[in-house]
Amino acid sequence: MTEELEQLLKNLKLRRIGRANLPERWSLETFPYARQPGVGKTGLACGLLLKALQNGHRCQFIRAQDLFDEMYASLADRSTRRLLNRLARLDVLLIDEFGYLNLKPEQSNTFFKLMEERYHRHSTIITTNLVYDEWHNFLGNKPMVDALLSRVRHYCHTVTINGPSLRDPQG
């Protein structure tokens, strides 16, 4: 009985890892080490996400481009609330490659709502090449970005990684 239960829990964990959409299975022991492109931000973040998954938390990996596309598409069939509820409930949300996107005001507003709903409740990992001062150029609407940053930075740990690019030609 205990073995069956253990197997069930193991399968549940594996299914959660499968559903988290991780691009690669980097663990914290093996990830390639990150602010310039190619220095390992995504690898580090994926390692943390995998660790959370292995500890039984509900997690999701999403590329910023896909997140903002999904937020904009949800306006068409009025499913923004449902999308926000789903994302706001996740224990850990990893948003990868935040920055260098052309955003519409609706997308920025929805993103603000998402972060507002996750603030104080669940963890969010964001990988980006942008320093905080550059977020205004990217998201627009300075007062909103100030409010967003005050929430994001309240409990956040910023990891700045400098180093050689892991994508340097090897040949």
Binding site: Y72, A73, A76, D77, S79
Partner: protein, 61 residues
């Protein structure tokens, strides 16, 4: 994959009235929504009131 999507789009075009179909497709395209299941729900929401009218009956009758 593309053929399946085109077949589904053709079914929507044949099954639903033209005006709500075009209306929903236009709005979906405007917001970059290319999920045909969600497009169908948008069409259904538009035609619901035309095809599934409930009679106004007095609940006490």
């Amino acid at each position: 994959m593309v053929a399946l999507a085109l077949r589904q789009l053709l079914r929507l075009l044949r099954e639903y009235p033209r005006e709500p179909f075009l209306d929903a497709a236009g709005e979906a395209g405007q917001y970059g929504l290319y999920d045909l299941d969600r497009l169908e729900r948008m069409i259904l929401r538009r035609v619901a009131r035309d095809y599934f009218l409930l009679l106004d009956t007095d609940p006490h009758d």
